[in-house]
Symmetry: D2
Subunit: 387 residues, 4 copies
């Protein structure tokens, strides 16, 4: 049995399937995709990769499968799915997700095509696993798929702790062993055992605090918005095919930007950390509902409108209006007085955390230093932001 | 300058006053008072003492004083008060607090008498500090006294992190440096600077989760109730004077129990971890308001009533009904859009955390194994607990 | 299965035997015996106990037994022996060991009598284990006894890491998982697998550095010498029987000292950290061989001789001359090119570490502040110390 | 003052000079140069960069400068030099160092040219610092230059701890605060104060153990040898200028390899972790002296000779024969009994650690799987390796 040393879980033992999957180019590529993409522009230590995270998720899946006494083919499938759950990610993970979805119509959790087209599929088959079943598990479907992608998944148990270790921000340090110990299978689905509301809440709290402090830091959001903009340009111009785009590493995407004149500026801005700044940074209550969670086309037309008023090139106006926050963990099933309930029904904290997340929501409009004032004024008037 | 190695803050540098205070028997006594008293019956690693905690609080006070640019006599006073803030604690800290208050009429934060009667006072004077001013600071009074005892005090910043380190429960690991960085003096009082609601909430969350998981664990509450019972007996019988009682160490109190027949059983129960069990463990909504947060005399009469119905010796019935939870942190001052507000006015989480704390509240009735059933039934009928 | 949270190993799962053993007064007593006895006078955070250490050793034994694929009665015996391995320790552990050996003729690893006379034995029998076989294992005898007490034992793997965690001194943080992974059974005995010389050396290094920095700190040695002196007085005077003495807790021993006039001074010195100071602190090369590792009677007569010359009461002169350092780890068996060798045969470091330990050796003569100079001069002349 | 959160040192405060230096492209480039280059192929969590390490070294320099009470221009210079000390590194740090030295005649510590040609120089000048003086300090020359590059430098204090944190291997976790506290200036040079031999040894030990376990792991050495080979080809063929080569990031170098047919194979081997294997892995005592620490031309001619005998393409034979190990730390100055000595004169461990390092030395010959046997036999005969 191969053993790998990990900075979070110490020694991780790999079974034969895992060792074979790791040797594929698809898994090795994840060494060059940072787990937190542009967060390292704010937290310089946040350079951990989706590769080490995948090992961590695999490790927790092994532990969960053992605690839950799942055996045989299902256990193999859950472990394999945990290991490959992130292979569908494009460069910079979530930050190119929207661009890929617009051009490929595919979410990163949909990996049937990847398993079919690459060595991953043949490795799985040679180990007696059906690629489509593994892909379904990665997407949270099928028996216990929620262990890999769901309200109580091992993905989140790993990333919260790992992101805390590598950023130095302690809020993510949940007690994942306590969560694992509390897992039960009730009527074929995962649930937390009796008397563990506080355990479940702790994971929800950790994510809420990490969102505020790390994941949605404005510097990372600005970098992400620039990445999305440049990615769209590359793809819309046909400079690179969406299929190839989706398989690049972080550095390969930056190199591709640098090689193409219309996106070269974004490459050097990201490399040298000379980002746009916030012209607008507006709380939820100051933003009319119709400007919350905008479709891509609507964003672009608003940007053009703002640019026209401000008298600047539309390329230097970036509107960033995320959807209202949601909280999958609050749907976690939990046994209370013998019945299975949703966490949100039993927890006095869920509503507060939801309000908290809403409180942290911001609409941003970004621009280079020189155009900041003009863009800010134009954006406030177009978006009817109450100042 | 003397330097001490600490498991939480690494090296702590002592100024001359601190070094002199540490050498007094009053400070040395704190080596034998566990920070978490009986929590070690649940978390066996929780053996850290009020001595090391005091050093930690002193260290954070030094850092805060430097950040806040407080200088001169006030800075000296704040540092000294931080170091001695726990000398007033009796054996087992909070768990004998009620007994001491009943017999001495004194809370552990009132230490004028201690400074007057012991070497602590003369050491302070020899360092140019007025004992009464230091005592007031320990009690949260006077200029910046809230830094030592208040909504944003360094006491809490140390104990949350230290208790997490020693129990292994990660929830208390707050980012105390971030809190310290956020401190400002506004109109002579402490406040958190603009845009730090999440930082303030994180401390509140940490305490709420530590309460649920560590501080109010039922085993520790049962042990505490037994300690209170036996302490009352010692004091009421005049077996030991309240003044001497208040100055015992943990082990000296157990030895005193063991030497006096009426309390000897409690000593051996604590030493051998053979505690009473829960006959009743009732949520807030099942308990009539009049039985919440009972006065001591009322508790004793209820115990007698229950014992009579159950047909057992009143000594084996323990009723434990804490007050409704409160949250001092929610009163923390914080700058929002230029104005100073209370955290509870600005945080969407405070109400949820309050509800959460209320949800975790329990009334307990405890008894030895053999009498558990009889006592449980009698207590349910006397206390009108809905089952 | 019961689970306990530990600050070092996180969750520790207890089997039925372990849970039953933990409930005995003998195991519970270890809650009140500090693992590092008087080291807390130097490192204030070092308050961890032999109870939590015993849980840790049990945990590592469980892991080792699983890796080595030991099963059945032998596995049960090894786990049980790991858990109870420290019950034979007197108050303040190693620091009263010599006094107990002088008066009881028994080393702390010899626990046949304890298992025979206490609940521990009956608990073991009820779980199908033979007390004498468990006692032999604790003493390092019988099949794989060296796993509990030997060159590669789990005792050391736990204490190095635990002592590092609680003192804050990082040197003890060995990679115990790597050591466990390297364990093999070769010809019925433990050995480290091929290519693990560096792994073995790391444990030896850790202990050498912890000796220098923590375990043999002069303040702790002075406190230990005072404890030995006062213990001898108690026992020689028959104030307490050696049997009872050996079963006291740390605090009970101090209380016993305090209650007996001839030892009361030592009790208050330890409680208030007013220790003797070093009148002599001599390196190995300056001390004649005949004064190294002295027998007890020889020590006392030297002290009387020194006192006579210095014109002081013999009670204020303490001579402390440890044996030459030895290194059990260097006898660890290790596979090299297919053959089993001793670590010392294969490691280039062992000789250096031995020299290093010899370099750190010191003969100490201690006395109160007032007599320091007189005692120092007299001692130098009696012990022929080259100055 | 800007504050940055670091996973190792928590908050790092930047002075104005540091903030300005960080904004240069030269410093930002270090975000894309991994601190441990190819070690991440063995320890997947080892993705930390020279950027965060530079911040850490700067932080320790600030602390050292304060402890040593260095002030004014010298203090500014030391801090600035600490921050920029790694800007001279090429892609993959030490692993392209030899190739760069062959073609540019420049070591990574020689950065006069970089400061002269880039923004770094003008930023330094605008802050009142002389670029050449800063460059000299980076190279260990001038007043207290040894603090940045020398036997007791802050570079090593940071990287040992940081590498431990990110690999999960604990051996590097030195007590850097203890080292900093022990620093003194004696006769204008750094020295460790009296009685700190063990402190100094601990750093030496940490590096020796990290060498064995992490830095010189064979997988990383093989990857490094392949990088050197391909780099030489790129440079010798003039495919890229040495000046440009030296300024690439890790990913840019791999992309450059991939774009040039003769080096494309190495790029894909590194990306997919399909490395050459060990045909020979020989201990020092089995290798004739004349084959230890070979010059580059000699290596290439030996490879051709081996290839000819094995009947394979010379491109698939890689000979890797490092110099004998050396230990700069053993030259550290330390005060012993009032005199300044070298650590190696006073430490019983240095000789052992040297022997240890020599014991870990290996000559490697690497080849692809298919040619492993033929290459191994030919190499053993050419290099006269005793088998």
């Amino acid at each position: 049995m191969t053993t790998i040393k990990d900075s979070v879980h110490d020694y991780i033992e790999l079974d034969e399937t895992a060792a074979a999957l790791l040797d594929t180019p698809e898994m090795q590529r994840l060494r060059d995709v940072r787990q937190l993409s542009t967060v390292q522009l704010v937290y310089p230590s946040a350079n951990h990769t989706r590769f080490e995270h995948s090992l961590g998720v695999y490790h927790l899946a092994c532990e969960a499968v053992e605690k839950l006494e799942v055996e045989g083919e299902l256990a193999d499938r859950l472990r394999a799915a945990a290991l490959v759950h992130d292979v569908g990610h494009g460069p910079f993970g979530h930050q190119t997700e929207a661009a890929i979805e617009r051009h490929l119509g595919r979410h990163h959790d949909e990996i049937e095509w990847l398993l079919a087209e690459t060595d991953l599929g043949s490795v799985l088959e040679s180990q007696g696993l059906e690629p489509d079943a593994v892909a379904a598990t990665v997407d949270g479907r099928g028996p216990l798929g929620e262990l890999v992608s769901g309200a109580l998944d091992v993905d989140r148990m790993d990333y919260l702790v790992r992101d805390a270790h590598h950023t130095g921000v302690p809020y993510g340090t949940i007690d994942h062993a306590r969560l694992l110990y509390a897992l039960r299978i009730v009527d074929g689905e995962l649930a937390l055992e009796e008397d563990t509301v506080a355990t479940a809440e702790s994971a929800l709290i950790a994510r809420t605090l990490m969102n505020a402090t790390v994941y949605r830091h404005h510097v990372s959001r600005i970098a992400g918005a620039l990445l999305d903009r440049a990615s769209e340009r590359l793809l819309a111009d046909g400079h690179v095919s969406p299929e190839r785009f989706a398989r690049l590493t972080d550095a390969q995407l930056l190199a591709t930007f640098a090689d193409y004149e219309p996106t070269a500026d974004v490459a050097s801005r990201l490399r040298e950390r000379r980002l746009y700044k916030r012209a607008i940074w507006a709380r939820r209550r100051t933003v009319p509902d119709r400007f919350v969670g905008l479709e891509y086309d609507r964003v672009r037309s608003l940007e053009r409108e703002i640019a026209a008023i401000a008298g600047v090139d539309p390329a230097v106006v970036v509107v960033d209006s995320p959807s209202e926050p949601s909280s999958p963990e609050s749907r976690a099933r939990i046994v209370v007085d013998g019945d299975v309930r949703r966490l949100e029904e039993r927890s006095s904290l869920v509503a507060g955390l939801d309000a908290c997340a809403r409180e942290m929501w911001r609409l941003g409009v970004y621009a280079p230093d020189d155009e900041l004032e003009a863009v800010g004024e134009a954006a406030a008037s177009v978006l009817k932001i109450e100042v």
